[in-house]
Each structure stands twice: as structure tokens, then as C-alpha cells.
């Protein structure tokens, strides 16, 4: 049973033979995946955020020029170049997503990938702005994946200083009202979006007792955190704009920050990372993600203790999760999200999505459109959200389509064993074996309560 849990609960579903391979040391098969260097990077074009930033700026400039020409009633426009650029950009973004999905479908180190996906969702960046959309792939590669087994503080700083986050939550253009830049640029000033979401979502949580004044003070401390513009050396990279920084000391949640310039924002982030309320908030979320929508309090407490004992060492917190007996309760309590569900189906047959269009429509139909979580809170992870009547109908239709494409070449009874191991119940085994056709058997397996949960 432990091997089946190791692969399905902590991983992304079993590839053929994966449960057998984990049998000799289920816990060890997971802890062996924890590595300081972080999570794997999807195989894609490896564009940096800065390259994408420049790309988008060039595109937007070209579009403005085209518009100006059109408005002037000038020459025939040359739409093909612009359209080409636009399609190339679309391809790049789609390839980012496809590459990530293929990594998830293929990787033998699926816990490592799950851990990375958890943190990418914790520090959500969504497609609401064109410039941000193009940088989501680079954000995960540059800020998230290298740091997921690092200290939480490093991960928090990497996220909070990445151009994708700075543009998504409007920090890049926030200016201290009494800064030098404010004098020159009339009407420009503070934007508190990133400051609020760091407090509420990324660190201490909404119940931590901070007030509006704390949010505003934190926003002032963060002024200057920005992204280099096209005409600057560090175009598309993090820059600190000294002249946009609000001068003076700040007081946030009762603590005074007298530091100057960038050191002020850093000091706040450092304190937030070390705050026990952050440990509590984030560890509760880890327990909910991996184990149950209502996890045992003892599990959260174990994770919190390891977090505080190690100064938020995420490799240690991951180990504490794997070592917790509560995490190995044989009753599967988590209902797979659409992304987990579809990836685990590819893993079931040892395959991977061959094109973006093989995965995007089903995710969109199930309410998890690629790179587009509905808010900075990220995707929901609870059964109540995803196990909707319509969601189940959509999953069934997709399972039928998948069965029509692949099931005729499979042995469904063997697949049921390789997918679920000891978690395979007699009811499901019987249903699969009694099916009229391979396709029916395959769809039944994929739609079984055991496969839908982990």
C-alpha cells in the first residue's frame, strides 16, 4: 500500500512499473527526489524573462506604429509581419505550457514536480496582462524551480523581485508619493496590490491581524522594486529605482524599518519569511495540497515545527511531510485537479501530450485554462470546487475520447494494477474486467473513484 500511496498521492500518478519500483523503499523513493538544486526545468526554448519582455515591447511598439500609420491614412499596412510576431508569441507561450505538461507526464521524479507545481500555484502569476503572460514560463524556470528546496526566504525574494510578479501585481509602476520620481511624474504614486497579496497570500495570511495601515506601509517600503525599461541596460530585469522609493522609516505590524532604499523592502520580506504565522499559513496549505482538504492538525503542526526548527528550509519541510504518518493514511482524501487528472492519465499509459491542443481544451473545459488562474490566490485545490456534476460529465467525455484513441492497444486489467497497485479495490477490478470492450474498461478505470482521487 505504501508504494501505491508514494506514487499516486505524492507523485502525479503511476507510469507502468512505477509502483513496483517504489516497493522496496516507498518513503526513500520520494526523499531521494529532494535536491538542493531545485526542480527540473521543462525542455523548451529557454527564453529568459528579459528576452520575452523585449519581445513583447517590440511587438507593442510595432503595433503602435502600425496604428499611427493607419490613423494618418497612410500607406497600406503590412499586417503579415505583425501577425507572424503575434503567432510566434502565441507559440512560445503554448510551448512553455506544453513543455511543462510533458515534463509532468514523463518525469520519474514526480514528487519533485508536484512540489514545484505547489509553489508555482502559491506564488501565482496569471495571464491577465500580455506582458505577464509571456513571462509565466520564465518565471517558473527562473524564480520558482531553482528555489523550491531552498529557504522559503529565498523563494519569497525571488518571486517578489521577478518581472512577471512585478508586472502581474502592478508593483513595477508603484512610486513613493514623496519620492523624487513623484515630483517629476505628476499623478503617479503608490500601488498596494503586491504588498497586500504578499501579506495575505504568500506569507502570514489574512488572519494574521494586520491592518490597512500595514498594507500601505509595506507598499511604501516596496516602492522602487521595478522592472528595467527598454531603453535601460537591465531591460526586462529586476531593478531598484532609488528615485521612486518613498523616503523615511516604515512601521509594519508593529515593527519599525529604518533601512534605506532596497534594504528596507528586503528587511520586511526577511521578517515575513521568518514569521511563525507564515510557517502556519503555508504549512496548512502544504498539508491541504498533499493530504486532505481538512488535514489533521497534528500533520500541520509537524510541518510547522520543522519549518521553524530549520529557518524555513523547504527541503526539510518536504522531508517532514514524507516522514509524517498522517500523510500515509490509506484512505485517499484528495480529488485530483483537472491538471493532475489529465497528467495522470497520460502517465497511466506511459505517454505524454503530443501537442498543446491535446491538453488545453480539456483543461479549459474543466475550468483550469492554461496559465490562467482566476486570481492571485491561484487554483482551488478542494474537491468541492472540482467534483461538480458538470466537471464529472466533462471528465467522462474526455476519458471516452482518450479510450477511443489508445485503449485498443492496452490490457485494461494490467493497467488497473499498474495504475493503482494495492489501492485497486475489488469493485473497480471487477468493473474493469467485466467491461464489454477495452475502451469501456479504460474509461471505467480512469473515471473510477480510486483513480479520480489520490
Amino acid at each position: 500500500m505504501m508504494a501505491a500511496l508514494a506514487v499516486t498521492r505524492f507523485g502525479l500518478g503511476a507510469r507502468p512499473g512505477e509502483i513496483d519500483a517504489a516497493r522496496s523503499d516507498p518513503q526513500g523513493s520520494i526523499t531521494a527526489q529532494i535536491q538542493r538544486s531545485g526542480a527540473d526545468k521543462p525542455v523548451d526554448d529557454a527564453d529568459t524573462a528579459a528576452q520575452r519582455f523585449t519581445w513583447i515591447r517590440d511587438y507593442q511598439d510595432a503595433r503602435s506604429t502600425e496604428r499611427a500609420l493607419n490613423n494618418a491614412g497612410g500607406s497600406e499596412r503590412a499586417p503579415s509581419t505583425l501577425m507572424d510576431t503575434r503567432l510566434q508569441l502565441r507559440d512560445k507561450i503554448q510551448n512553455d505550457f506544453l513543455a511543462r505538461a510533458r515534463l509532468g507526464a514523463n518525469t520519474p521524479a514526480a514528487f519533485r514536480e508536484r512540489w514545484a507545481l505547489f509553489w508555482a500555484n502559491h506564488f501565482t502569476v496569471s495571464s491577465t496582462k500580455q506582458i505577464t503572460f509571456a513571462m509565466i514560463g520564465p518565471f517558473e524556470r527562473e524564480a520558482i524551480r531553482p528555489n523550491v528546496f531552498n529557504s522559503f526566504e529565498n523563494l519569497l525574494v525571488a518571486s517578489s523581485t521577478h518581472p512577471a510578479m512585478l508586472t502581474y501585481l502592478d508593483q513595477a509602476s508603484s512610486i513613493g508619493p514623496n519620492s523624487r520620481a513623484a515630483g517629476r511624474r505628476g499623478g503617479k504614486g503608490l500601488n498596494e496590490n503586491l504588498a497586500r497579496e504578499i501579506l495575505e497570500l504568500h506569507t502570514v495570511g489574512v488572519d494574521a491581524g494586520y491592518r490597512q495601515a500595514d498594507v500601505t506601509e509595506f507598499a511604501r517600503a516596496l516602492t522602487g522594486f521595478s522592472v528595467g525599461r527598454d531603453n535601460e541596460d537591465r531591460a526586462g530585469q529586476f531593478v531598484f529605482r532609488d528615485n521612486a522609493h518613498e523616503p523615511g522609516a516604515r512601521t509594519i505590524m508593529g515593527r519599525r524599518y529604518a533601512e534605506a532604499d532596497i534594504k528596507q523592502g528586503w528587511a520586511v520580506l526577511k521578517d515575513l519569511a521568518a514569521d511563525p504565522r507564515t510557517a502556519h499559513h503555508v504549512c496548512s496549505k502544504i498539508a491541504r495540497h498533499f493530504v486532505s482538504d481538512t488535514p489533521p492538525q497534528t500533520l500541520t503542526a509537524r510541518l510547522e515545527k520543522r519549518w521553524m526548527d530549520t529557518g524555513g528550509d523547504l527541503a526539510e519541510v518536504a522531508k517532514a511531510l514524507v516522514e509524517s504518518p498522517e500523510a500515509w493514511d490509506p484512505t485517499p482524501a484528495k480529488f485530483k485537479t483537472p491538471y493532475e487528472f489529465t497528467l495522470s492519465t497520460w502517465r497511466l499509459i506511459g505517454a505524454q501530450p503530443s501537442a498543446y491542443d491535446r491538453i488545453a481544451p480539456i483543461l479549459t473545459g474543466l475550468g483550469q485554462k492554461p496559465f490562467s488562474p482566476p486570481s492571485p490566490k491561484g487554483w482551488a485545490e478542494d474537491a468541492q470546487t472540482w467534483a461538480s456534476p458538470d466537471g464529472l460529465i466533462k471528465r467522462m467525455q474526455w476519458a471516452q475520447g482518450m479510450a477511443a484513441a489508445v485503449a485498443d492497444r492496452t490490457d485494461p486489467n494490467a493497467l488497473a494494477v499498474s495504475a493503482l497497485g494495492e489501492r485497486l479495490t475489488p469493485a473497480v477490478a471487477k468493473a474493469v474486467s467485466r467491461a464489454e470492450t477495452r475502451r469501456e474498461a479504460f474509461a471505467l478505470l480512469v473515471m473510477s473513484p480510486e483513480f479520480q482521487r489520490r
Binding site: R196, S388, V428
Partner: protein, 424 residues
Amino acid sequence: MTAQMNRRSLLGLGASLGISVSFLGSQAFAASEGDLAKKKLVVVICRGGMDGLSVSPPVGDPDYAALRGSIAMKPEQVLKLDDTFGLHPELKAVHALALKGEARIAPAIASPDRARSHFEAQDVLETGASGVYGADTGWLNRTLEALAPIRKVEGLSVGATAPLILRGKVQAASWSPGKGVDETARLPTLLQDLYRSDPLLGPAFARGLETETMAQQAMTAMAATPAMNEMAASTPAMAQPAGMSSTMANDRQNRAGSEAARKLGSTLGGFMIQAGGPQIAAISLDGFDTHAGQPGQIATRLSYMDAVLDGLHTGLGAEWKNTVVIAVTEFGRTARVNGTGGTDHGTASTGLILGGALKRGGIVGDWPTLKETALFENRDTAPTVDMRGLFKGVLADHMAVDRALLESKIFPDSAGAKPVAGLV
């Protein structure tokens, strides 16, 4: 175009606009319940914190222009309602209804939550509780539960995910446009057997199958009407290149988005007038979190909302006279423009109340004004109406929900939120 293709295009539509629809159905009570079975209620949840001062700009308020600075609208830009208020220029259909007395504004409405957190405030809006974590079920679901012993009301939700406002003891159905179920396959029956002892999947799947059947009937009926054929014949313009966000859309695509939103609204209206169709619906509209560059963003979002409401009005046809629509958001935004041409999280916002069942009248609730001393925490429009009062008033007067049940089951701890009376 077949009904099936039309439904498929609607799927893309909802996803690309960030719109999802949920509705609750009442099955065929027309005979016994008479007029009561015809009453319809639609709740529109505008997610992200919709800026009330953009929805209904108080251009006649002496402090408005100074507070709003670069994003203030001029009196001649807005669609005039009275000496103080106008409507955003994109709310053309709402304005036309307002002139007929079929749309009103509540310019300073808020939930009881004051944390300015999207997620906490949306929870409070949807649970109907007095504070966060006050309930884990939605007030529309508890409405069904409270009505169950009196008249059997079925729940139906359309959309990829289940919204909190509909979650609870009553298994709400849900549906969104899709391929339909192959009724010749054995799989649905086999799965029902497999889910028999599963408390989560069993009821949800059974309800999903029922709804598919009903939806297929409704879509077939609608496809047979000239209005539906006309809609179906128009281009499926909501289809943006996959992977491109709506903000990549240019003006032309925004117009196409509005058309798609209109189609979604009229389709919903078409569902609601089917025999045995839903009496209560909830729609979510995303994208109202306008921290920077607000005017363009909110214009797009309000144009979609206007189109959904306009489509609903058209789709309901003669049944519009039996309908009340409420559009609310989790919180409003700061009265002052922020440093990036947007606004940050605030408190009261504008609620819209529409429908042929509405009585003509002025604004709902008092206008606190934008005087510095009147602002909530020297920052936001101050609330004068608790939105639970609006919900209670409409449920009691329009949907004939028992007042004692409203206070005890549906909105507990809401004694301070007096039901808004005299709307219908």
C-alpha cells in the same frame, strides 16, 4: 448550425470571457404554484472588486472630480441618471432599462466584511454569513434547503466549477456547453454503479446526467426558434487564438467579446423560459481588479456585463416581467485614484438591480457623499446598505421566501441588515 456546434462554441465563449454561469432549477410547479413558479432571480457576481464609482459615476458630487483626478469622468461622458449619478458609457443597455424604470442602482452597498481581501469578501458574499468562516454553504443553496419542505426546488449549476454560493446540503446540478452524453454508451450506467457508495461522486454524477438530458432538450427547443438560429448563424467570434489572453484582444475582439457575452446572456434567458427550466441563476464575471490603467480595463468588463444583461433581457422575452437581476461585487475600490491610474481595494460599491418585476424608483439606499469626512476610513465610499438586506428583500418580496426562514436559516446573524423593501 446544429445545436451541438452552437453549444460547443459557447464553451469557448465562457472560458475566454472568464464567465461562468450557474443556475438553480425549479421543476414544473406551474400548475400548483401559479405565478410563484414563474418568478425568476438572477444573481451576477462581479469578481475582483468592481469599482462602483466607475459603474455609476457620481459626477454631480462636488468631491468626485478631485478624488478621481486623472480617471474622473466628465458629466457629459456619462449616461445621465439624475443630478448626481450617471452610468458608465458602456452600460448602454442598463441605461435604456433605467429610463424605463427597469434598472436601479444601490450606489453604496457592501457585504459585512471589511478586510479588503478578495477571497474573504467573496466568501462572505456567497455564504451570506456575517463574517468569514461563518458558514461553509452558499445562501442560494440554503434557500433551496429552506424551500424544500414547502415546494420542491431543484438546483442546477452551469459552469466548469461549482461556485460557493451554490454549495451545500442540496446537491446542485451543474452544466456547461459541451459535447453531450452518448446515450447509447453503457459507461454512464456502469459509473453510476461504481459511484453508488461514494458520497461525493455519486450524487454529483447522477445530477450531471439528469442535467445533460434536460439541457439537450432545452437546446433543441431553442435551436428551433428563429432568434436562436440567428444567433447561431453569427460567427463564433469569441474564439481567440488559444493561449492568448483577453487583454491581447484589440478593439475589434472586444466587440466580438461583447457579442459573445450577449449570446451567453440570451442563451441563459432561453434556458430560464423552458418548461421546467431554472427559476434562479447565478453568473460570475471576472476581471474587475483594476489596480492600474483602470479606465480601459473596466470599460471592457462593463461592456461584457452590459451585453450579458442585454442578452438576458432579450432571451427572457415576455418573462422579463417576472424577473429580478442583482449584480454585486465583493467590495468597491478606493475613492481616490492611486499612483498607477487605478484604484486599490475599498469598501462600498454600486449594486445594480434590474428586471421587469422592479418598481420604478430612485437610488436604493442613501448616498453618503464623497466628502472627506464621509469616506470610510478616509479612503473608501462608505456603505449605507448591507447587501444581505437587498438579498433578503428580493427573496421575500419577489420569490416569496418565508421571512422567518430568511432570518434563521438563510442569513443568520443579519438582524442588523434590514430587508430592502418596496423593490417589486
